[in-house]
């Protein structure tokens, strides 16, 4: 690392602070707005200091919901989002690690063909195949269900590729030592490969959880019932375009709440996440 002297260092810090402010100010504004009275916001006289409606607004947001547009408390939306994000993250990791294991460690007919088929799905994200996917989910009567929300998003190649790359760096001798130690394919996977993949799984979990949490298009398409909608859809629905007054404190509180789980996941798994990206335990 290059050590900078005097002014250069202050300049670097100043730029960083400007960057942080640009990112953080809207967040701060959202938090402040969520504690103000709706009338004040509507007047365009919102103060930059927190108001006195914190508890009231958040209670209403989480347990009651807006008075008009969505009729559903945000607590329930968060639960939906959480279940969906967890199912996507866990499901994707589980399926990918197993398929990567098969591709790397087993010799079966058309192994490489399988690999390339999985690889090609990289080029077909949900947005591209949205109509056929919708049709399938609808035909399976999975609309307005957690399975319908998460299954189509679980099927994707990125995680499989990542695990494949990781498995290929695991020395063959570990497998051979396991074989001599009397561990069959399942034991090797469970006792050796899974623990070694721990940091990779954590890193992937963070990425996939946030990916799942932030889904917008797919949940918008397949959820019609209010009690199945995710928080991202909820926010959109709260901002009405009709003549009703948007309840900005509630909208802002929802936005703040929507931000919390990903932030929590990142903070909780930061150590593992960084280790998963930069080092391997071998």
């Amino acid at each position: 690392m290059v050590e900078h002297e005097g002014i250069q260092r202050y300049l670097a810090h100043a730029i960083l602070w400007i960057g942080i402010s640009v990112v953080a100010f809207p967040v701060y504004l959202a938090i402040v707005a969520s504690t103000q009275d709706n009338a004040v916001i509507a007047n365009g006289q919102m103060s930059l200091l927190p108001g006195g409606h914190f508890l009231q607004t958040y209670y209403q947001t989480i347990f009651v919901g807006t008075s008009g547009s969505t009729r559903e408390p945000v607590g329930n939306m968060m639960l939906n989002s959480l279940v969906m994000a967890l199912m996507i993250a866990v499901g994707k990791i589980a399926i990918s690690i197993i398929s990567a294991y098969a591709i790397v460690y087993f010799r079966f007919p058309f192994r490489m063909a399988m690999f390339w088929i999985i690889f090609i799905t990289l080029m077909l994200p949900v947005e591209v195949r949205i109509y056929p996917t919708y049709k399938i989910v609808a035909d399976l009567h999975l609309l307005d269900s957690y399975a319908g929300l998460s299954l189509p998003l679980i099927a994707s190649a990125t995680a499989t590729l990542l695990f494949r790359q990781f498995f290929m760096t695991v020395p063959d001798e570990l497998l051979e030592a396991s074989r001599i130690d009397g561990a069959g394919p399942f034991r090797f996977f469970w006792d050796t490969l899974l623990p070694l993949s721990r940091t990779n799984m954590a890193a992937l979990f963070v990425i996939l959880f946030i990916l799942g949490w932030n889904q917008y298009l797919w949940p918008l398409l397949i959820t019609t019932r209010d009690d199945m909608q995710t928080i991202q859809i909820g926010i959109r629905k709260m901002i009405t375009t009709t003549d009703a007054l948007t309840e900005w404190p509630v909208v802002m509180a929802t936005a703040v709440l929507a931000m919390l789980p990903p932030v929590f996941v990142v903070i909780a798994m930061q150590k593992l996440f960084v280790r998963g990206l930069v080092e391997t335990e071998k």
């Binding site: 001798e173 030592a177 074989r179 001599i180 034991r187 006792d191 335990e281």
Partner: protein
């Protein structure tokens, strides 16, 4: 305890490459067998076939009176020490050793006894709770050994276990491995490319080249009577000097000897069998050399000399050295100067004669 017998073992890879071209080896109960050879000679493949990590495409591998060709590695009653140790990185030293025993369903108390016994022998007792990455190379090596010992297998297999250690540690571990094997009396097969390791460890030495066995025997016998020019130049450092002989030279040089068959041959003389002297020895060889380089290693000195072959009537040397150059080893550090002309003589009984293709040794 068990014999290991290889009968006409072949290995052909699906691509058609023949890695092992028919090997017969018999390792007696409790013996330490070393497979040695240059890289690519098939020694590791052969060991992995004994372990069950490679399939056998021809012949039979017999461990303790049971043909194991179709038996899984875990059921062959063997333990293997890998070159990179292959310790489970996420398990403690204790669990690394205990893992194989647990998979066999051994009682936890028995496992504890065995692991602690192995840890005591290998001086690993204070490190049982550590992870492999917290250990030094030598300690990891010992854990790998421990993992083999606790199994109390019929056969130990070592795949170049010392090549990742530094030179000093390598010598120390070499001695330890030998002591341990003597103490446990477990039949062992050890693969190395280091001829010094091979010589010092082996009860039976198997010299391999190109998928074939060049020579099997007691290490000293192999050193004294190498069966082929390959063995002659591979075993012993620096390598044996090899010089082709024309038919008339064979005849004259080995006159009155059953070796004087009047055919072209290859003459071999070990560097350590030369003496620098102005005398000539009846029946022996005297070579006039110009000193080109000198290596002093303390207890001994290696002299690289160029031969004036017209005088000797011996053609250029096809071995590892440039044509006409050979190595003479003398004790001590007092050596001639570079450019000096010296005479190196070797007595007749120290001469090795091989057939012209180098495949056969001609005995007196």
């Amino acid at each position: 305890m068990a014999n290991v017998t290889l009968r006409n073992v072949h290995k052909t890879y699906p691509g058609g490459f023949e890695a092992i071209k028919g090997v017969d080896v018999d390792v007696g109960d409790g013996q330490f067998c070393v497979l040695v050879g240059p890289s690519g000679c098939g020694k590791s493949t052969l060991l992995r076939m004994v372990a069950g990590l490679e399939t056998v495409t021809g012949g039979e591998i017999d461990i303790g009176g049971r043909v194991v060709n179709q038996i899984e590695p875990a059921d062959r009653d063997i333990a293997m020490v890998f070159q990179n140790y292959a310790l489970y990185p996420h398990m403690s030293v204790y669990n690394n050793m205990a893992y194989g025993l647990r998979n066999r369903g051994m009682a936890e108390t028995e496992i504890k006894t065995r692991v602690e016994e192995a840890a005591r022998i290998l001086e690993l007792a204070p490190m049982l709770e550590r992870k492999p990455r917290q250990l030094s190379g030598g300690q990891r090596q010992r854990v790998a050994m421990g993992r083999a010992i606790v199994r109390q297998p019929k056969v130990f297999l070592f795949d170049e276990p010392l090549s990742n250690l530094d030179a000093k540690l390598r010598i120390a571990m070499r001695v330890e491995i030998r002591k341990l094997q003597r103490r446990l009396q477990t039949t062992s097969i050890y693969v190395t490319h280091d001829q010094l390791e091979a010589m010092t460890l082996a009860d039976i030495l198997v010299v391999m080249n190109g998928g074939r066995v060049e020579q099997i025997g007691n290490p000293l016998e192999i050193y004294q009577k190498p069966a082929t020019t390959f063995v002659a130049s591979f075993i012993g450092a620096p390598p044996m000097n090899l010089m082709p002989l024309r038919p008339d030279e064979t005849k004259s040089r080995f006159a009155g000897d059953s070796r004087a068959n009047g055919k072209a041959g290859i003459l071999g003389i070990r560097p350590e069998d030369f003496v620098i002297s102005h005398e000539t020895i009846a029946g022996g060889v005297a070579l006039d050399l110009t000193v080109e380089a000198i290596e002093r290693v303390g207890a001994e000195t290696f002299i690289y000399g160029a031969r004036q072959h017209e005088e000797q009537g011996i053609a250029a040397n096809p071995g590892d050295l440039p044509p006409g150059e050979l190595i003479v080893r003398i004790p001590g550090a007092i050596a001639p100067a570079i450019g000096e002309r010296i005479r190196a003589i070797a007595p007749r009984e120290k001469l090795h004669l091989f057939s012209a293709d180098g495949r056969t040794r001609l005995e007196a």
